[in-house]
């Protein structure tokens, strides 16, 4: 168990490409940190640099207070779980799990006890003498975990360990990993591109994009107070809705109608010299069927025609299309490409609202929507910065 400190870590490839730029993070002893971002954002490269599988171009990496930049992976005492599991196909489960200890010349009886203990925790006892080829996906995944925990290392590194499992098993294993990490109390760095995994597993989440850290924080903080368009759009499912808006005297003019600007928001925007053209972000749950909202709650009503109504039991998702969403914003284009939205070929700009199941919204007919204006986010289209971020309010 150990603290991991990344101080200005940079990775530059020989061809000049920057994979990771100035990564600063202190991972506390026993903490569970998630690196999340779309593919190519540098999260795996960062993990590989902590592991020692890739060289660090600049900056220092300290594990347990010692600089380990130039140490081989074997001298860093950290274990890694790979996306492909990377089980040794010619060894049985017992030998796979005990491989590291055998290399470390640990006494045979001790290896046996440790492997059996780990197998018991992971429910692998009856599979110890089988080869990886004869195991199911979930069992292989557990062997990969077992290989890591047998060693009792200073830290676990996990590189998308669940992405090869089917959806149901993934949810189960996610809970197991969280429970296991809490039980062992080992510092863990976990890489994923799945924001749901990131939100549910981590003590802290690091959102990365194009080699740069965008924001670090607890899952709830990232959700409530994203620093920029990218984080806002990446965290949350379904994602935040973005609308182009023009700042008028007392309102933000959007395709959904004028949204009133209250004193707090006006002061914030004035103080930051906000441009007239802005982007408004609204979370799906900040909409509600106007008919179901009590009189007392302040907000704004608007009308839209329902395209699709999806009921999931506890909630109803209502999709509608708006003309002319915010265009030419690279962050949004990137998010759309990452979620596959860009490939669906749908015209117009989709808005998703999460409504109470009591709603009478019907496909093809217009409905009155209520928007909780106190919870909207306003972004600067030029920089992508969230002008309504709470830290900005304290200036």
């Amino acid at each position: 168990m150990a603290e991991i400190v990344l101080d200005g870590i940079t990775k530059r490839y020989p061809d000049g490409a920057l994979a990771v730029r100035d990564f600063n993070l202190t991972i506390a002893d026993g903490e569970f940190v998630i690196l999340v971002g779309p593919s190519g954002c540098g999260k795996s490269t960062t993990l590989n640099m902590i592991a020692g599988l890739e060289d660090i171009t600049e900056g220092t990496l300290r594990i347990d207070g010692r600089v380990v930049n130039d140490r081989a992976p074997k001298d860093r005492d950290i274990a890694m779980v790979f996306q492909s599991y990377a089980l040794y196909p010619h060894m049985n489960v017992r030998d796979n799990m005990g491989f590291a200890l055998r290399l470390a010349k640990v006494d045979k009886a001790v290896i046996r006890t440790k492997v059996e203990e780990a197998a018991r925790i992971l429910d692998l006892t009856q599979h110890l003498d089988r080869k990886p080829a004869n195991l199911s996906g979930g069992q292989r995944q557990r062997v990969a975990m077992g290989r890591a925990i047998v060693r009792d290392p200073k830290a676990f590194l996990m590189d998308e360990p669940l992405s090869n499992l089917d959806a149901k098993l993934r949810v189960q294993m996610r809970t197991q990993i969280a429970a296991l990490q809490r039980r062992l109390g080992t510092t863990t760095v976990y890489v994923t591109h799945d924001q749901v995994e990131a939100m549910t597993l981590g003590d802290r989440v690091v959102v990365m994009r194009g080699g740069l850290v965008q924001q670090v924080g607890t899952p709830q903080h990232l959700y409530d107070a994203p620093v920029n368009l990218f984080v806002a759009g990446f965290i949350g499912s379904p994602g935040m809705n973005f609308l182009g808006a023009t700042l008028e005297q007392n309102a933000l003019r959007t395709s959904l109608g004028d949204l009133a600007v209250d004193d707090r928001l006006r002061r914030l925007l004035e103080r930051q010299d906000a441009p007239r053209e802005l982007i408004v972000g609204i979370r799906p749950e900040d909409f509600e069927d106007a008919a179901l909202v009590g009189e007392r709650r302040t907000g704004q009503a608007c009308t839209a025609t329902v395209d699709v109504r999806e009921s999931v039991g506890s909630d109803v998702y209502v999709h509608f299309t708006q003309e002319g969403g915010p265009a030419g914003i690279t962050e949004l284009a990137e998010l759309a490409a990452d979620s596959g939205l860009a490939d669906t070929g749908m015209r117009g700009h989709r808005i998703v609202a999460r409504l109470d199941p009591a709603t009478r919204a019907a496909e093809g007919s217009p409905m009155d929507l209520w928007i909780d204006t106190s919870r909207i986010h306003v972004f600067d289209p030029a920089t992508g910065a969230n002008l309504t971020h709470p830290e900005r309010a304290e200036y």
């Binding site: 081989a72 074997k74 990377a86 290989r147 060693r151």
Partner: protein, 277 residues
Amino acid sequence: MMSHRGRTLTGWGVVNLLVILYALIPVCWIAALSFKDPSTLTDGNFIPREWTWANYRGIFQTSEFTRALVNSIGIAVIATTIAVVLGTMAAYAVARLRFPGKRVLIGMSLLIAMFPPISLVSPLFNIERVLGIFDTWAGLIIPYMTFSLPLAIYTLSAFFREIPWDLEKAAKMDGATPAQAFRLVIAPLAAPGVVTTAILVFIFCWNDFLFAISLTSTTAARTVPAAIAFFTGSSQFQQPTGSIAAAAVVITVPIVIFVLLFQRRIVAGLTAGAVKG
């Protein structure tokens, strides 16, 4: 009435049978000749009237053939070993590492494989005489190695590419040195590929006639395919047909046994090379 499927199967069966006969008849012919008594060689019978081991006894009585057999085995084994060891290292680098000039290296090895050996025979003859390795084992081992290395590198790199890169990383994370990772994780997985390559290279060296006949002049390094050409009858009026046939059978049998034993592996190896190379 035969179904369409049945007719297709029969059709293929007939074609396969023809191909197998076409390939096997010369082999059977040689085998039949080797068992014939010299006096009945030209009696027009495919199957010998009187079976005899005389031809086999004959070739093992003189040192001409046994010496050549020793040369063949020695040269083929040494050339194969060196080619496979070098090929394994080169293929590992080709499959695993990114380095400048990799494409050039692969291209060069392909170039060597494509070079017609016959065009190199006279320069090699001169070079080897100047260097003093003409008519020695080394004089054959070196060109065999050169010509089989591209084959070895190609087949082996296809095998290495099949081994997931993550396994080596996992071994490193588990605390293995690069040497341990190679020895304990990569080598066991690459073993089938190495065996396949070794057999292919061995067959190439074993069967070669061109270099063997051109770069040797005495029994010091003459291998069996070349030595057979120097067989003489017991008198100048007698053809050495029987002895030649017997010698051909003797050097074919080990290869046939090899190939039968490793058949699946070799086919897998060849296709792996074909698709991935």
